[in-house]
């Protein structure tokens, strides 16, 4: 397999048109932090997009940042911190903005910050046949035309390369605390969720519950006081809440079900971190396939999905709705079918 670094939209367009003409299969890479997500897909060429990485527009009062998508999360974090703001997506420093959007991982603070998809307001995509198309606008609110950026988000690079994005940002919290409750379990997690007003996150594990408290100093104090009425709490000043990286296992699946079905799904699992009130749980598994299959059966009964985000295992075989619509979209955006064939849900 070849690796080519591209430094501009034109370079990317030419590379894709050449690949299309030669029938070479392509995948896009950034920080290589989220590549496990997706069905196995053999490609002939990797296009490295980390060279397309400039700030396009950032004016803090607009609460929006427009950047080229090859920018590293760490770089974006530093740029935004300069304006006292953050993009509340908790991804690794070395990940790229585009790769993060293309794989749409869940952040531990999703309870308060919402899903990643709602923070993308504008996007430029270079399609499989090299056309550059833009959707959305540089405004926080917009209903002008069809939101192609909604399709690109989470598309695993199978519709095109995300080269530029406008994202909603928010003020950095003035204070931050991690409230740790020994004990653990979803029941205790739900109790903390019911007791602490508007926490950024409540993460339950088998042996403890972590509550992310952040905001104005008085707000954090108030949340801490409330937490202490429900349980014995260890306060860790200025500590961020961890996501899936806190799980040490060869395979990690990201379960998504309605919150009330998490108990059944996780009942026999020894190693997990669950986002209480959200319905996301990261589950650590051995690399034998069997446990993953069992987990997926339970998740399917609960009406959810469990794609693997670390190690082998792919997305699973959950049914894809409106498969014909999916096929037409794939044909429109990647007419020669060269973008990571088979990587996406539904064999697309």
């Amino acid at each position: 397999m070849d690796l080519t670094e591209v430094w501009s939209r034109e370079g990317l367009r030419d590379a894709l048109r050449d690949a299309g003409r030669d029938g070479r299969r392509v995948s896009f890479v950034g920080g290589r932090t989220h590549l496990a997500k997706g069905q196995p897909s053999d490609v002939d060429l990797e296009l490295d997009l980390t060279g397309i990485n400039h700030v396009v527009a950032y004016d803090p009062p607009e609460m929006l940042a427009v950047v080229e998508a090859g920018m590293r999360i760490g770089t974006l974090r530093a740029v935004l911190a300069g304006g006292g703001q953050e993009w509340p997506v908790d991804a690794p420093e070395e990940a790229t903005v585009g790769g993060t959007i293309a794989t749409a991982p869940s952040s531990p603070r999703r309870l308060r910050m919402g899903p990643l998809r709602d923070s993308v307001v504008e996007l430029e995509l270079v399609t499989g046949d090299g056309r550059t198309i833009r959707s959305g606008a540089r405004t926080v609110k917009n209903v002008t035309g069809y939101d192609v950026h909604r399709l690109a988000t989470g598309s695993l690079g199978t519709l095109g390369a995300i080269v530029q994005v406008g994202v909603k940002v928010r003020p950095l919290p003035r204070a931050r605390r991690l409230l740790v409750v020994e004990g653990g379990g979803l029941e205790l997690g739900r109790r903390m969720l019911a007791t602490v007003p508007l926490p950024a996150a409540v993460v339950a594990t088998p042996d403890r519950v972590e509550v992310a408290s952040e905001g104005w100093p008085g707000e954090v104090e108030e949340q801490t006081t409330a937490a202490k009425t429900a349980a014995a709490v260890v306060v860790r000043e200025d500590e961020r809440i961890a996501g899936d990286e806190a799980i040490d296992a060869p395979v990690v699946a990201e379960v998504a079900v309605v919150p009330s079905r998490l108990d059944g799904v996780l009942s026999d699992e020894p190693d997990w971190r669950a986002l209480v009130g959200v319905g996301i749980a990261w589950v650590g598994l051995p690399d034998d396939g069997e446990r993953l299959a069992r987990l997926r059966r339970r998740v399917a009964e609960a009406g959810g999905i469990a794609p693997v985000i670390r190690g082998p295992g792919g997305l699973g075989d959950a049914p894809v709705p409106a498969l014909e619509v999916h096929r037409r979209l794939k044909a429109a955006f990647d007419p020669s079918g060269i973008l990571a064939p088979g990587r996406f849900w539904g064999g697309l």
Binding site: R110, A137, T139, K141, G145, Y146, P197, I280, P321, A322
Partner: protein, 485 residues
């Protein structure tokens, strides 16, 4: 037998004769929404279930007729104006709340349910449905989904799309698909995210799973008044720059305040050039801190007075003033044309002054009430249609306002949609390739081009691969003569 006659018989058999209207009065009633555009309906049908909607779309497919979905008809951009004698599928009779599940933070509702009826039904659960368009007393959840509706509280909480988990959508061929999921993620592309805001051009929304949001424990509502619009707008920027994201941040100019005050008696200061309605919410200490920042920003920018709502009753009264603005303007003139542009927050003053200048120039009365925190302007042009030449001046002013907003780096619409009124402005903000890609997205759902024809995309926007299927249809030709009244 004409196609319409044949489809009428089919639908009367499937839905019952009472649910199918074709008399001239009914057709006239459904010939327009709340915009200034009028079309011609072919047939009006009232499904009562997902199966009914599916039957409507199957019949339309069988007889090769266009379909226009419609909720309450409060749309302001002509999104549900029938073009080419379509079947108008009205979801008003599908207005039930099907289930409320606080433990999963969701509720399933039918599309015809009024927005406010959902919020009211949720009282006491500790949760609410956040999007609150000013039309919420009469606009339907399905219509809100179609336009990705906003509302004052979308500043902090996001627009409708952020509050829709899943949709039961009837595709143009009559098949029913659940897009999105009750849970946080679903398999496949985010087709839910396309249907929200697609203005009924990709299918009919027949069921909506909405996300419920915990009610904030503490809310503080403040009314600030200013001697100039510049100071008022500068305060908006200062609040945001201070690291506060208010739950709502609404600006009203003197013209609208005077009209509202005479109508709602909310105690708004009628001598101020502009007022700001600010709401902060959250936990008590956070609200205290935010309110302090808001007041500091206001004082630094020459605020006249700061009024804080002392009771839920007073809060409701202040909001009544804001939300009745569009009812109150009937006191100015019998007709209005309401705009909806979004500009970067930092361009608010510049654009607002530009709007005043254009309207002075065109001799049109303008008042402004808008979501200042979002940069979402709503210039409201008031007129009396019987006055010769006034409609031309209003339309010319409208055209100039749209261009002014786009030139300032803004977008064509923040929450009302493109519909018919703004589709020809689309090339101002998108390239031909952008529009062709959007046409492909639409055609992926509706390869035969029968859903809500003529809306959103301008003539000429074609998806290459699907162009053949989309051409040669009556309904896709230019807007018929006489649709503008």
């Amino acid at each position: 037998m004409s196609k319409l006659e044949a489809v009428r018989r089919d639908l009367e058999a499937a839905l019952g004769v009472d649910e199918v209207l074709s008399d001239p009065l009914a057709l006239k009633l459904y010939a327009r929404d709340a915009s200034i555009v009028e079309g011609v309906a072919g047939l009006v049908v009232f499904p009562r279930s997902v199966d009914d909607v599916s039957a409507c779309l199957k019949a339309a497919a069988r007889h090769d007729l266009p379909v226009v979905p419609r909720g309450s008809g409060t749309g302001l951009a002509g999104g549900s104006t029938p073009i080419g004698e379509p079947i108008v599928v009205v979801t008003s009779k599908m207005d039930r709340i099907l289930e409320v599940r606080p433990e999963d933070r969701l509720a399933w509702v039918e599309p015809g349910l009024f927005n406010l009826d959902l919020a009211t039904a949720l009282k006491g659960t500790g949760f609410t449905y956040m999007p609150d368009p000013s039309s919420q007393q009469v606009s339907s959840i399905g219509g809100n989904v179609a336009t990705n509706a906003g509302g004052p509280h979308c500043l902090a909480y996001g627009v409708t799309s952020a509050h829709v988990l899943a949709l039961d959508v009837v595709l143009p061929d009559g098949t029913v698909e659940r897009l999105g999921a009750e849970g946080p993620e679903s398999a496949g592309l985010d087709l839910r995210g396309i249907v929200v805001g697609a203005e009924g051009t990709v299918g009919v929304v027949a069921g909506v799973c909405v996300r419920l949001t915990p009610e904030p424990p503490v809310i503080r509502t403040m009314l600030l008044d200013f001697a100039t619009v510049e100071e008022c707008a500068a305060t908006v920027s200062a609040i945001i720059a201070g690291g506060v994201v208010p739950a709502a941040l609404e600006m009203m100019d003197q013209g609208i305040v005077r009209a509202v005050e005479a109508f709602a008696h909310a105690g708004y200061p009628t001598d101020a050039a502009a007022v700001l309605l600010v709401e902060v919410d959250g936990v008590a200490a956070g609200v205290e801190a935010q309110a302090h920042e808001v007041e500091s920003a206001a004082h630094a920018n020459g605020v006249g007075s700061v009024r804080i709502a002392e009771s839920p009753k007073e809060r409701a009264l202040l909001w009544k003033g804001r939300k009745s603005a569009f009812g109150a303007i009937a006191r100015i003139a019998p007709h209005y044309h309401l705009h909806d542009c979004v500009v970067p927050r930092t361009k608010l003053v510049e654009v607002l002054l530009g709007v005043y200048e254009i309207c002075r120039d065109e001799d049109v009365v303008v008042t402004n009430v808008f979501h200042a925190g979002d940069g979402n302007l709503h210039p409201l042009l008031s007129f009396d249609r019987t006055e010769p030449g006034v409609l031309e001046r209003v339309l010319r002013a409208s055209d100039r306002i749209v261009r002014l907003c786009v030139d300032a780096g803004g977008s064509l619409t923040g929450e009302h949609g493109i519909g018919l009124e703004k589709r020809d402005f689309m090339p101002l903000v998108f390239t031909e390739e952008d529009l062709a890609a959007q046409a492909c997205v639409r055609a992926a759902f509706d390869p035969e081009g029968r859903m809500n024809p003529q809306k959103v995309l301008p003539d000429g926007a074609r998806c290459g691969d699907f162009a053949v299927a989309a051409t040669g249809r009556d309904a896709r030709e230019a807007i018929p003569e006489g649709t503008w009244i």
